[in-house]
Symmetry: C2
Subunit: 229 residues, 2 copies
């Protein structure tokens, strides 16, 4: 029996943050099919293992616990596997990094595809996207991060904040390679951190198993690819 | 000297979640002016006390710590003042409740006003809004919440999850009274919890000090009021 069961579409996007932690702690997990995810998502709240609007949902099978919302799943895994610092400020900053990543996902997909990108709206967005990169960069720099060494929050071991930063920026720039130069220009220490984490065997294997270069999928991914081409 | 300084616009919306906790722990705080918030928001990340895109930002003055992102601020205050359960699952559920609330704020404002409501889009949204109410209701029911008694996660004392649920649904339905009947129909135990918390002297005083019935302000609030009228 797998340690965990993940309900998430077969794309990176939000699910990859969870997969990254599971891979990092060498957990075994299985994933449900599109039909199973859809059936659970559409069930009434009182019939769901945990009341939710959308995936990801993670089930810890030995503990018989189901958690929804990426932030809550990362909290659960992070505390269980000691990947969130006990220090009050560093713990809060871990949640800041998760919340920042969540905002970037919403903005890059224009709120889960509520609107599509045009050349004009994408151009308007660029200062804000680079500002997000600088915010991660500056956070890391304050804790001693350099392009060659360090972690996002200055911890000796990599934790949820580092994995989150890697999955956000590393996965995004792998799926959309033209954004890599923007990341290098605006956030060289962040790019270096992401590369170091991406080179760890578990993370490299996770990336290899991804379905090609898909990121968020759907019309909004097509729209992103069009403005980036 | 105040214990905390809050940077947030003079409206409830995201800032009220922070104010609610500060009031609950009897902290003294001051708030910055619109011009001061705007100046800090527009500074470059390396000149900000904490790198961020937008408020709220909370400064713990004795500790000389600045935190951005509502989720991170609630984590900081919740851990510092022991308002987040130590139990692994209840802690994760606290973060689920915060993330759910954040999603509802984004949806109700069509992602911070990126689009305006029309009668048609508002009508389309109603099943999803009531589903969010049911999700909070069902979460509470699983932990023993009834219209008359209990807390959202079954804790003996009210915590961050309860205050968050109250500020989300109680403040929203106070600012938009026509939504109160929808809440009562879909989530009577949640409505009862919110009323009990709202009747606590500190929370009642916070509500009295709010600027009239304003919620998120701006064109999106005007749009909400129009579809609700």
């Amino acid at each position: 029996m797998a340690d965990y069961t993940l309900y998430y579409w077969p794309i990176p996007f939000r699910g990859q943050f969870v997969r990254s932690v599971l891979a990092h702690v060498h957990a075994e997990w299985d994933e449900k099919t599109f039909e199973e995810i859809q059936a659970m998502r559409c069930a009434s709240p009182d019939e769901q293992p945990v009341p939710h609007v959308g995936p990801p949902v993670l089930i810890d099978r030995a503990a018989d616990v189901s958690i929804a919302q990426t932030e809550a799943i990362l909290t659960y895994l992070g505390r269980k596997h000691e990947l969130i610092p006990g220090d009050l400020v560093l713990e809060a900053f871990t949640h800041k990094v998760i919340a920042d990543a969540n905002d970037v996902l919403y903005e890059m997909t224009r709120y889960n595809g509520a609107q599509m990108w045009s050349d004009a709206t994408w151009a308007d967005y660029q200062p804000r996207l680079t500002r997000w990169m600088q915010i991660f960069e500056d956070t890391g720099r304050r804790f001693g991060l350099t392009p060659e060494s360090g972690s996002l929050l200055g911890t000796a071991e990599i934790g949820i904040a580092d994995l989150t930063a890697h999955i956000l920026w590393g996965t995004m720039t792998t799926c959309f390679p033209t954004l890599r130069a923007v990341l290098d220009d605006n956030a060289p220490a962040l790019a270096g951190l992401s590369d170091r984490i991406g080179a760890l065997p578990d993370q490299a294997e996770l990336q290899r198993k991804s379905n090609g270069n898909e990121w968020c999928s759907g019309q909004i991914e097509a729209s992103l690819r069009e403005v980036l081409s």
